[in-house]
C-alpha cells in the first residue's frame, strides 16, 4: 500500500473512532433525557451525527475512487448548492437561458477544466468568461426589470457554488515536491479542519456559550464557541501536520486561517439567509439543513487555502 493510502486508512479509522464516540454520547443523552419526553436539541444532535456518518462514508468512497471520484463528488456538491442558491434568488423568465447555461454549461466546463488540468483557464473561466456571458444571454430577451440585481445574483451564485467549491478538488492539481500522490490528503486536511471547527464551535457554544458574537446574523453563535472552536480546531490541525506538506507550526497557522475564513463565511451566508427570510438553505442533509448550510465554511476557506499552498509550496 502507498504512503498516502496508509495515511488515509489511519485517518479514516480516526474519524470513525470520533463518530463512534459521538454516536455513543448522543445515545446516552437521548436515554437520559428521554424521561422528560423527547428533546428537540438531542434529536437534532443525533440526526446530525447520523448525517456525518453518511457524509464521511461518501467522501471516503470518493477518495477510494480516486481523482474522478473526487471530481464527481464535488461537481455534485456544486450542482446541489447552485440549485439551493438559485431557488432563493430573484429571477425572471428572461433569465431562463442564462440559468440553464449556469447549470448545464458553466458547471460541467469548470469541472472538465479541472479534469484536464488546465489551470490557467480554470482559474478565470467563471470570473471572466461566465461573468461576461451571463448578462449577455439575459439581456438578449430585452427585459430590463431589476436587471443589475438579476445578473449580479446569478454571478454570485456561480462564484460561491461552482468557482469556490471547485477549489477543493483543485488541490489535486498542485505539484508539491516530496508530496507526489498524496494531494488527496490536502483535501482531507482542509475538510476535516474546517468541519471540525464548525462542530467544535457548536460544542463549545452549547457548553459555555454566554455572549452572542453576531446576534443579528446568527443568534446561536457565541464568543465562547468561536474562541474555543477555532483554538481547538487549530490545535487539531497542527496535530495533523503528518498528512500535509507542512511543519506542525505551518499546519497550525494554515488551520487558523481556514477556520477563521470558515467562521466568517458562515456569517456571510447567514446574512443571505436572513435577507431571504429562510432558516436553512434547503433540506438535503437531515439535521443540518441544506448542503450550503454544511458547505458554507468550506466555500470561503477553500480558494484561500488553495492559493496559499499553490504560492508557497507548489511548483505548478
Amino acid at each position: 500500500m502507498t504512503a498516502a493510502g496508509s495515511d488515509l486508512v489511519t485517518l479514516v479509522f480516526g474519524i470513525f473512532g470520533v463518530l463512534i464516540v459521538a454516536s455513543a454520547v448522543g445515545h446516552i443523552l437521548e436515554r437520559r433525557l428521554a424521561t422528560n419526553g423527547p428533546n428537540a436539541a438531542v434529536e437534532n444532535l443525533n440526526a446530525r451525527i447520523r448525517a456525518w456518518w453518511a457524509m464521511v462514508i461518501l467522501i471516503g468512497l470518493a477518495f477510494i475512487a480516486g481523482r474522478v471520484g473526487v471530481l464527481v463528488l464535488f461537481a455534485f456538491c456544486s450542482f446541489a448548492a447552485l440549485r439551493e442558491f438559485v431557488t432563493l434568488i430573484y429571477t425572471r423568465r428572461a433569465d431562463h437561458w442564462a440559468l440553464a447555461s449556469a447549470f448545464f454549461l458553466v458547471l460541467p466546463i469548470q469541472y472538465y477544466l479541472l479534469w484536464a488540468e488546465e489551470y490557467g483557464i480554470f482559474s478565470i473561466f467563471i470570473p471572466v468568461y461566465a461573468f461576461l456571458l451571463m448578462p449577455i444571454i439575459s439581456v438578449l430577451r430585452g427585459d430590463t426589470e431589476r436587471f443589475l440585481l438579476r445578473v449580479a445574483e446569478v454571478q454570485w451564485a456561480l462564484m460561491i457554488c461552482v468557482f469556490c467549491v471547485s477549489h477543493v478538488p483543485a488541490l489535486l492539481t498542485l505539484d508539491i515536491p516530496d508530496y507526489e500522490g498524496r494531494n488527496v490528503l490536502l483535501i482531507a486536511f482542509l475538510v476535516i479542519v474546517v468541519q471540525l471547527s464548525d462542530v467544535l464551535q457548536y460544542v463549545w457554544g452549547k457548553l459555555f456559550g454566554r455572549t452572542k458574537i453576531a446576534p443579528k446574523l446568527s443568534p446561536s453563535k457565541t464568543v465562547e464557541g468561536f474562541v474555543g472552536g477555532v483554538a481547538s480546531a487549530t490545535l487539531i490541525g497542527a496535530a495533523l501536520w503528518w498528512i500535509t506538506p507542512f511543519t506542525p507550526l505551518q499546519a497550525g497557522i494554515m488551520s487558523f486561517i481556514i477556520t477563521l475564513m470558515g467562521f466568517l463565511g458562515g456569517l456571510v451566508m447567514s446574512a443571505i439567509k436572513r435577507d431571504r427570510g429562510v432558516k436553512d438553505w434547503g433540506h438535503l442533509i437531515e439535521g443540518h439543513g441544506g448542503l450550503i448550510d454544511r458547505l458554507d465554511s468550506v466555500v470561503f476557506s477553500a480558494p484561500i487555502f488553495f492559493h496559499i499552498v499553490r504560492y508557497w509550496w507548489s511548483l505548478s
Partner: protein
C-alpha cells in the same frame, strides 16, 4: 412489453423530477386519506402531476390517476403513450363541442373503480401574475355525485420557475409539494360557496410570495 416500457418510463420520470427539483413533500397533520380521494392542485406546468405523483407513497401512487386534457395528451403517439400508458391519465375533452363522453362521468367511474384523482380545478395552466385562477365548476359536479369523497388541497411551489411555458430546458430548482387536511362538500352547500372555500383552502397552503423562496 408496452406495460414494461411504461413502468420503466414512469420510474424514469420520477427520478428525473427528483434530480431536477429535489422535491420535498409536506404532509398534513391528519395524514392522507386511506380511501380513494381527489387531490386538487394549482396548475402552472405540464410537470405538475408528475411532481404530485412522485412524492406520493408508492402504495397510494399506483392507484392515483391525473385528470388531463385529451387534446394535449392525444396530440401525438408519444404524448398518448405518456398520458395513457405511463400515467394512466383520465383524459377529458375540455371543449364542450368536441365532447363524446361526459368528463364528470369519467371521473366518477374512476373513483368508483378505486382510483384517486389528481385534479387541476383552474382548468388550464396559470400563466398570469395571479397566484391562483378562479376554479372551474367540474370539481363541484363531481362531489355533487360523490359527496363522501375526500378532497385534498395540494400546493405545488416553484415548478413554474423550473420550466416556464415555451421553454424546453428545465432549470434545477428546489420544489415543495404541500398537502392540506382533507375536506368535504357540506350538505346543501352552493356551487359558488363551495368553489370559493376550496380555492381559499388551497391558497392557504401557498408559502409567502416570491423572493422569500419557500
Amino acid at each position: 412489453m408496452k406495460a414494461l416500457v411504461a413502468k420503466v418510463a414512469a420510474a424514469a420520470f420520477v427520478l428525473f423530477a427528483r434530480a431536477i427539483t429535489a422535491v420535498r413533500a409536506i404532509w398534513p397533520e391528519e395524514g392522507l386519506p386511506a380511501k380513494p380521494c381527489v387531490y386538487f392542485a394549482n396548475h402552472s406546468s405540464h410537470g405538475d402531476f408528475v411532481l404530485v405523483w412522485a412524492v406520493l407513497p408508492p402504495r397510494l401512487r399506483h392507484r392515483t390517476r391525473p385528470v388531463a386534457g385529451a387534446e394535449y395528451w392525444l396530440k401525438s403517439p408519444t404524448n398518448a403513450f405518456i398520458g395513457r400508458d405511463v400515467f394512466n391519465a383520465v383524459l377529458i375533452e375540455r371543449e364542450r363541442e368536441k365532447r363524446t363522453e361526459d368528463p364528470i362521468a369519467l371521473m366518477v367511474s374512476a373513483i368508483d373503480a378505486g382510483s384517486s384523482l389528481i385534479l387541476f380545478p383552474e382548468g388550464t395552466r396559470n400563466q398570469t401574475e395571479e397566484r391562483l385562477l378562479p376554479f372551474k365548476s367540474g370539481i363541484f359536479h363531481l362531489v355533487d355525485q360523490r359527496p363522501e369523497v375526500d378532497l385534498v388541497p395540494v400546493w405545488i411551489n416553484n415548478l413554474n420557475r423550473v420550466m416556464p411555458k415555451g421553454e424546453i430546458v428545465p432549470i434545477p430548482l428546489i420544489c415543495t409539494v404541500t398537502f392540506g387536511n382533507a375536506l368535504r362538500v357540506a350538505p346543501g352547500e352552493g356551487k359558488e360557496a363551495f368553489l370559493e372555500r376550496m380555492r381559499a383552502a388551497l391558497l392557504a397552503l401557498a408559502p409567502k410570495p416570491a423572493g422569500s423562496g419557500e
